[in-house]
Symmetry: D2
Subunit: 394 residues, 4 copies
């Protein structure tokens, strides 16, 4: 009955698996105006791509992403490749009239991101949609935090305190995977996980980072070469090849800054926080209340209502599993938590709805560009004695 919209995906590593599960599940839980079809998967190796397609549920295989864009049965291009290829693919797809959802960070450089944002703006004029996949916005607790701020529940924002803490490469013998090489990954913890906390800080507060002062560090400067092209997600199981090479990205990045509304903000992205597995945390303090979130307990939002009498006030643990919470009504009863992958399911749900409605999906490529500019300002500040560096306006 409903029109079908064909999806073609490029890349089938960690992000390809999460996106596949999203495309596979979204229609069973949400009432969508368009029925997504998992048409084709693109990858360089015919054999490996075919295996992945069978496993992940894609009907066809392409070994050249340009052919994927050419397919008439594909209307959405889903980019799950490393950052160095985002710009070329996204611009080509948009110009070909395909809607694009692109993994974050938008690109490896501001220049690439600018080109992509320009292409997205041009495409939008023709009704073609683009969206950057900052999935954490679609964690229900994060979306609820944004809602509380937008409704004025925490008042004027004084502080943002954001951290993204991992410990995946604490071990000095963890191999030199592509994410530790600047040419492929652009930057290290800063771009990979720092990008997420910049985005959700700006999303939740509805403000922008006006300027920053940064410090970065590479604790382990040399590592064994990797065998194969695995990412960090392979954990300590990633193979090691012969010889050693230089780590050319940051292991950790710290920065402090000012929000456009006058508040102060503190950020930390690191892969060296022993015991913290995926602690993407943010706390926002306002004149009327506060909010706190930690992805390691992703179904909880902590809310302090400062307008209550102090004798009964306190941070309350809102279990974000109520039917009235963002996205949650489609799933299970109260107290039955969701997992990491659901953020992707919500993402493609919103994307399909925006395409059908002819509205601009969020976060836009312009928002992706804005994050890129913050990353660049942090790197510039770090290279310039931590001097406070204004984030360029889009």
């Amino acid at each position: 009955m409903r029109p079908v919209i064909g999806v073609g995906m490029i890349g089938y590593a960690f992000m390809g698996r999460t996106h596949s599960q999203a495309w596979r599940s979204v229609d069973a839980f949400f009432d969508l105006p368009l029925k997504p079809a998992m048409v084709a998967l693109a990858g360089r190796s015919a054999e490996a791509t075919a295996q992945a397609a069978e496993k992940l549920g894609w009907a066809h295989v392409e070994t050249d992403w340009k052919h994927l864009i050419d397919r008439d049965d594909v209307q959405i291009i889903d980019i799950c490749t490393p950052g160095d290829s985002h710009a070329e693919i996204a611009v080509a797809a948009l110009e070909a009239g395909k809607h694009v959802i692109c993994e974050k960070p938008l690109a490896n450089t501001v220049a690439e991101a600018e080109a992509m944002a320009a292409a997205a703006r041009a495409a939008a004029a023709r009704g073609v949609r683009a969206m950057v996949a900052f999935n954490y916005r679609r964690v229900p607790a994060v979306a609820l935090a944004r809602k509380f701020v937008a409704e004025g529940r925490i008042g004027e924002i004084r502080h943002v305190r954001a951290q993204y803490l991992q410990d995946w490469i604490v071990e000095p013998e963890f191999p030199l995977v592509w994410r530790l090489q600047k040419d492929k990954a652009g930057s290290g913890a800063l771009g990979d996980i720092g990008a997420h906390i910049i985005d959700i800080a700006q999303y939740i507060t509805g403000e922008r980072l006006a300027g920053v002062s940064g410090l970065t560090e590479t604790f382990v400067k040399e590592r064994p070469l990797a065998a194969g092209s695995t990412g960090l997600s392979a954990g300590s199981g990633a193979g090691r090849g012969a010889g050693r090479g230089a780590v050319t990205v940051d292991d950790a990045a710290l920065f402090i800054g000012r929000l456009s509304g006058g508040g102060l903000a503190s950020f930390e992205a690191t892969r060296f926080a022993s015991g913290r597995k995926n602690a993407m945390r943010i706390e926002v303090n306002g004149s009327l209340g506060s909010l706190a979130f930690d992805f390691e307990a992703m179904n909880e939002l902590w809310f302090h209502d400062h307008t209550l009498d102090s004798a009964e006030a306190g941070f309350r643990r809102v279990l974000v599993t109520e039917p009235s919470h963002p996205y949650v009504g489609a799933w299970w009863p109260p107290g039955h938590g969701l997992g990491y992958e659901h953020s992707f399911t919500h993402e493609v749900k919103d994307f399909i709805e925006a395409i059908a409605a002819g509205t601009a999906p969020e976060p836009s490529f312009d928002e992706g560009l804005r994050v890129q500019r913050v990353l660049a300002a942090v790197e510039q500040s770090a290279a310039d004695g931590s001097r406070f560096t204004t984030v360029e306006d889009s």
Copy 2:
């Protein structure tokens, strides 16, 4: 390449939705010996069943479960109906040579459960498998708890402290849905959620409840009649019809008891714990350590190692998201939590593997019967002045 195994499901309410997501996802994440096919969905109303099948991804529709059993392309019967129909369906399916996975509690009475267990034993002799769907065993943290106990990490078990706390019907005007009627549901909180904590207590400890002393209560004795046949999971949104009717099941059940190994155990199942949404909790204290779990934080297992020097000992929060944890390696990197539905995916994964291997899947119908006997003993004790009541041996 791999042989296909056809699945037919009966019922498409809350449990039907969770099982469908499991069948839909399992093959993308686990390397299965048999490829499950979602062949047909059975329900009484042709139209409603067809709609559900389209939404949930079932290829065909049957309006009589007997026809589902008759289908040659169906080798597994998945029973997601209310407890009063389990026995008839399961026995028929097993006799027809179909593998059966049946929602919990196994049945509404001990007699029904005995008949089912006998049928399962007979079927097993012919290589036909049966399993009761106590899904919480397949939450990775619960499976890890079992592993720690089995490895002797907590020593001799002294205490089990289990609670299943919900607050879905605190409101006296919540309608009289089928789960509040004894003829359909068998019992109230006791059978619905108490059954889960009995099962995981016995599973984690590897022991049995030898005897119990119980108390039950119905706090709200009359409620508005319900419009439609929704369950509790509809939340406060369940429609109300005209008139009122008597609540014929327990709202809460408490019982204490002795474990087969000499420990003491305490259980509480209630739908009147304001603010607790789905707090299925268990703590086990042993001579060498302790374990604690709360489903509201389902990716965490708390472990106290009592063999450490007390100066550095304490309950530690193990984030059960490591590749080495049960089931987790198939999913995401460390720190990326799973949700409620994954327990069902793990369940059907184990069921398929057992079928292929020709082994007995767990929990067996005999284990389901054992839980049923505990439920019966609690009810008997409650009706007899809380007198300590021995749980009959299977």
Copy 3:
């Protein structure tokens, strides 16, 4: 300026030390109508008592508690001896016109407690005051919980879930100290720590336990004889003598029961919960909200307001350190927690104020007797196949 009120204390072990710190500190923080003077300490050994008096700040020493009662400069008798001597001392002191504060449990038997309560009633008619020292009532968070219930914030009470978990004697070679001997201690975990949770459950709810069904167990039936007369508080450092003896009290006691208002209650007292050091916990669920407390985090009260929209409701952590919280205004600024001993300081503060005001201090000996009756009912039920046993009315 203010009149002085002289205090004489009997016993200087664990409880003697806490009470001494209370008497020493109370006047510096609270504006009292009477100035307490630490007049004399009584103990059997002249030398040991003199040493303790010097350390703890008592001006004089008596080696016979009767002489202490005889002193004209002593108006308050503070009883910190084991339970088997409470009745004789308290009755004598009250008859001599001395105000009495007596450690819990009030006595080792119901008969003794009845005699004490009768003596207290008679003394009250002459303006002489008696109080049983259930100190946990004076933890600010517990007092705040009582206040919330009294103000109707949690509505009709459905559930009480109380536990007192320790692990001090998990080790089978921990010696047979006096608290493990029935003739001296009356009972084990039940009377020592179970008494506390019975008292605070009744205090917080304002209801009574109407009846109970109980189970008790002694896990370690024989232990090395102790060297010296230390209590449990000596930890694993308690000396061991030659030979072994039988443990004649319970190691753990579980009971479930009904509250006078119709709610259900669950209790557990154990010294075998590995990793739980002094987890005196209580949760109360009502029709309008819930409260939860754990003494291991004694400055926090968790409050769920069920009247809020479920989209923003959740258990909130009230840090009970605000000037408006019970007792707290006398101490430090917000966020600066109090410790265990402060509960005793608050206790003697309230006792002095009641004496000065000529009002009845709480908890009265009648309340202590009521706890004793619950303890007796639990033991009776445990001895009678867990049969539900009505708690005798005072």
Copy 4:
């Protein structure tokens, strides 16, 4: 028997009350080589000082601190006045041969602190002792953290993440108390509470802050004049006078920096974190483990042992109430927490022991000076576009 050592204290506001409780209690719990006597209290107003002395337990009163120093029965001068008077008093006392314990921050300027440190060094040569009262070092959990680091349990330090969050002046109408005026307080959140986290970061790690980049902000720039000379600790109850005045100190200070060992550090001190009452938090991540502490739960230290198998590793909650923990053996049994004031009791205990032993108490005035230099570097950086500023070596 033991020699008496006389104490004279100057100031009786918040800090005077905490120190008095410490002097009053210390001898009852610790076996001290010298018996402290609370000889005299100094304050400007004879009447108010006399009242305070009676309340707090000081035997005599002086209205001129110089007379206090002159007293032969006083060997220790305890300085509890605002920071602008520390230098003059401390130097005079040390020159007069009196041991000095001085509240933090050591002084309002680096120059004053240098003079004090020089005086302390000179005095030490004559056996006269000086100590700055960074009380949080003596919270048992903080001392335990230091012990774990010193023992190598967390390996090479990669990250320090320290915050001191309060919300006492979120309300714009909170009056302009002395702590909000630069001439009296030196700085705002930075010096008052930021000083504490600098000190404990350096204490726990055993390293120094090598350089910093800072940002400060005053959110509320004008406030009602205060009636009376209360501090922040008066809470919102502080009186308001007529008219308004400028806030001349920072409301919040953020800084990032490098540790002498190569790690990165992040600090935040603010009085505008709604809902955070006294959240002095520090987390340290090392190559072998991590530690985390929050003063709002002051009896807990969280420890992650990264050398354990990741399948069972996790942050463990060490309840720092074991006899083997620093300072704890003197107090109560396991699980019976201590409060804020105990940190001061431990402080004077260590001070008395150092005096008796003829050793240098810690933290020395040199350490106080080092903190002062960090504060100055933060202010300098904040005034210079957040430029990375090296902390001058002592």
